[in-house]
């Protein structure tokens, strides 16, 4: 991070992400919470952009802000009483405890791991401007098996969903 613009952008986006994530907890209306979550996803996409990870940023918007949010909205719409006052949750304390523990664990890992940091000339040497091509190449080359496994899993899930909701026309 060398230019001031990136630093300002980072803090603004971090504030947006964390602030709207906090709003998700505070909001008493479930749909307001969903909207705040979408805002948080958008902030995360912006953070990816400041790291020059344009493909990941676009995928973040497409998958999380576009698709996952619609899925949540559908779940809320098809659930009776979903838009009722959401103020008192039974699981507030256990949820806080588990979330706090998880955050602590992540922070510990982030501090403990020896991240490979590159600066200046070393960074410029490793730079590639076409992230989409690099990601595509490693998907069909090094991570081909994981890629195939994920797509097979998704296909199975799709067929399973169709089989579950299918009406039995023979009856």
């Amino acid at each position: 991070m060398e230019s001031t613009g990136v630093i300002i952008g980072f803090w603004a986006l971090a504030g947006l992400t964390v602030g709207s994530a906090a709003l998700v907890f505070v909001a008493r209306n479930l749909l307001h919470a969903v909207l705040a979550l979408v805002l948080s996803f958008m902030g995360m996409a912006g953070l990816f952009l400041t790291l020059s990870a344009d493909f990941i940023a676009m995928a973040q918007i497409l998958i999380y802000a576009g698709a996952i949010s619609v899925l949540l909205v559908f779940a809320v719409m098809l659930t009776p009483l979903a838009s009722r006052d959401n103020g008192n949750s039974l699981f507030a304390l256990p949820g806080l405890a588990i979330g706090g523990a998880f955050a602590l664990l992540l922070m510990f890992i982030a501090v403990d791991v020896d991240w490979p940091e590159l600066r200046g000339a070393a960074l410029a040497e490793r730079a590639f401007d076409d992230t989409i091509a690099a990601i595509g190449r490693s998907l069909i080359d090094r991570y081909a098996f994981a890629f195939q496994l994920a797509s097979a899993l998704l296909l199975v899930a799709l067929i399973g969903a169709i089989a579950l909701v299918r009406e039995d026309s023979e009856r």
Binding site: G5, H32, F55, I61, G66, M77, I132
Partner: protein
């Protein structure tokens, strides 16, 4: 009516002034032409007389100048410009944003009139023709009317979420213009994930439309919103698959590079992949809520769908975004499938952005034509068409194109032969697959003969329409 406002007297009074104004405009136009001719003849524009008319190269020269990369700058200026690298970003960003905003605004003002006049023509009526010459000022009158109207908020509506959607829906409507290549070097956001950007931006409007329907506290609005959401997530799949087919064929996801590819190979992707063009176009009309897929706001079924409760300028914003998105989709079809700014060498003589604008206009005309002609699909028909028909065919087409793209990379003969073969193969595939898959799904015209358009023939058909027109 008072004598001062009588249109005939007013016209007689204003005629000399209008004549004088016209003459003045003519003189100014002639003077401009003489000045340009003098510039060209004097030789000051040699080597760049063509670039002079090309906005893309002008923008590139401006960026180079702002980056301190041109030779004819004084030394101190170059030093200053090199130390302020952000300047070229900001200036070009402001320039592009102004360009996009003014273009979209102008388009919204003019094309509303064009669309209404065209549909009137198609439906054998006149369309707006009262306000201003040929009714040209009708959109402005409508906008003033909408601004004056009170925006009602229904009882029990979620006030904040009711206020937000007309604004939120406008953001993707403007952002979608960013990666569109108008000319060489004339792309606002020339990113190499351009196609993915389009899909991501396109998926954002869904949420805003759902918010509008949900917060209105109205059953019709909620029904419309649910229809929209169901339709949008269904049609995003064939849309993304057709875009992916284009990306696989050209080997890049950068929109300007896709246009460049078509320009270099002298071929339009729409010719190579007719089925993909149809898939993209049809899915786009679904995403746009336009006939034949406007079930989200089907007037005859659910009042106005998700924007039932919106009045005044809030409704106006929804309406404007719908039209702006239609133009944006026309631009995408023109760029991705119809060669963008390239026209088999003609772009050397005509400014490329004009070629592109002409193509956008042509595609938009087809959209208006469809709207004026076709009836509306039922919801179940529309969903079945996406899932049972478009998606399987698009998947098979994608596999076919993957093979073709691999062959193309290894091809060493004449390009004409390869592309001619692809056109033949894909055209044959389109015919066979469309027909065969329809038969497989149970389409059998010999058992259920198609209905003739009885009403039209009953009242006299095209001839009666002609008689009505000329009367």
């Amino acid at each position: 009516m008072s004598a001062a406002l009588d249109p005939i007297r007013l016209r007689a009074k204003l005629a000399p002034r209008a004549l004088a104004g016209g003459a003045l405009a003519l003189v100014v136009f002639a003077a401009l032409n003489v000045a340009i001719a003098a510039l060209v003849v004097s030789g000051a524009l040699d080597d760049q007389w063509y670039d002079f008319r090309d906005l893309g190269l002008g923008v590139q020269q401006l960026r180079e100048w702002l980056d301190g990369r041109t030779a004819d700058q004084p030394g101190w200026l170059t030093d200053v410009l090199r130390s302020t690298t952000w300047l070229s970003y900001i200036v070009t960003a402001l320039l592009g944003a102004t360009g996009i905003l003014s273009f979209v605004g102008g388009v919204l003002l003019v094309l509303i009139w064009v669309e209404r006049r065209l549909i009137g023509r198609i439906q054998v009526r006149r369309g707006p023709n009262r306000v201003g010459p040929f009714g040209l000022l009708q959109p402005i009158a409508d906008a003033i009317k909408l601004i004056q109207k009170e925006t009602l908020i229904p009882v029990g509506a979620d006030r904040f979420m009711f206020f937000l959607p007309p604004v939120l829906v406008f953001i993707p409507g403007l952002l979608v213009w960013a990666p569109i290549p108008w000319a060489p070097h004339m792309t606002y956001l020339d990113t190499n994930v351009g196609v993915l950007y389009l899909v991501a931006i396109g998926s954002l409007a869904t949420l805003a439309i759902f918010m509008a329907g949900w917060s209105s506290n109205n059953h019709y609005a909620l029904l419309g919103a649910m229809r929209t959401v169901a339709m949008m997530i269904s049609y995003e799949i064939p849309l993304a698959l057709s875009l992916l087919t284009v990306v696989v064929l050209t080997g890049t996801a950068q929109l300007s590079a896709i246009v460049e590819w078509q320009s270099v190979h002298n071929v339009w992707i729409g010719m190579l992949l007719p089925l993909t063009l149809f898939t993209f176009f049809f899915s786009s009309t679904a995403e746009l809520n336009r006939t034949p897929n406007d079930i989200a706001e089907a007037e005859s079924e659910i009042v106005a769908g998700f924007h039932t409760e919106y009045s005044g300028m809030k409704f106006g914003l929804f309406y404007a975004v719908e039209l702006g998105n239609a133009v944006a989709v026309s631009a995408l079809v023109a760029a991705l499938f119809l060669g963008g700014w390239s026209l088999f060498g003609l772009q050397e003589w005509v400014p490329p952005y004009l070629v592109f604008a002409a193509k956008v206009g042509a595609v938009y005309f087809v959209l208006v034509w469809l709207r004026g002609t076709l009836p509306r699909f039922r919801l179940d028909q529309l969903m079945a068409f996406a899932w049972k028909y478009l998606i399987p065919l698009a998947l098979v087409q994608l596999a076919l194109v993957a093979v073709e793209a691999a062959l193309l990379r290894r091809w060493e003969g004449e390009g004409v032969v390869a592309f001619g073969g692809f056109i033949l193969v894909n055209g044959l595939f389109t015919v066979v697959a469309v027909r065969g898959w329809a038969r497989f799904l149970g389409y059998a015209p010999e058992r259920e003969p198609l209905l003739r358009p009885m009403l039209t023939t009953g009242v006299g058909g095209i001839e009666a329409a002609d008689r009505m027109r000329t009367r």
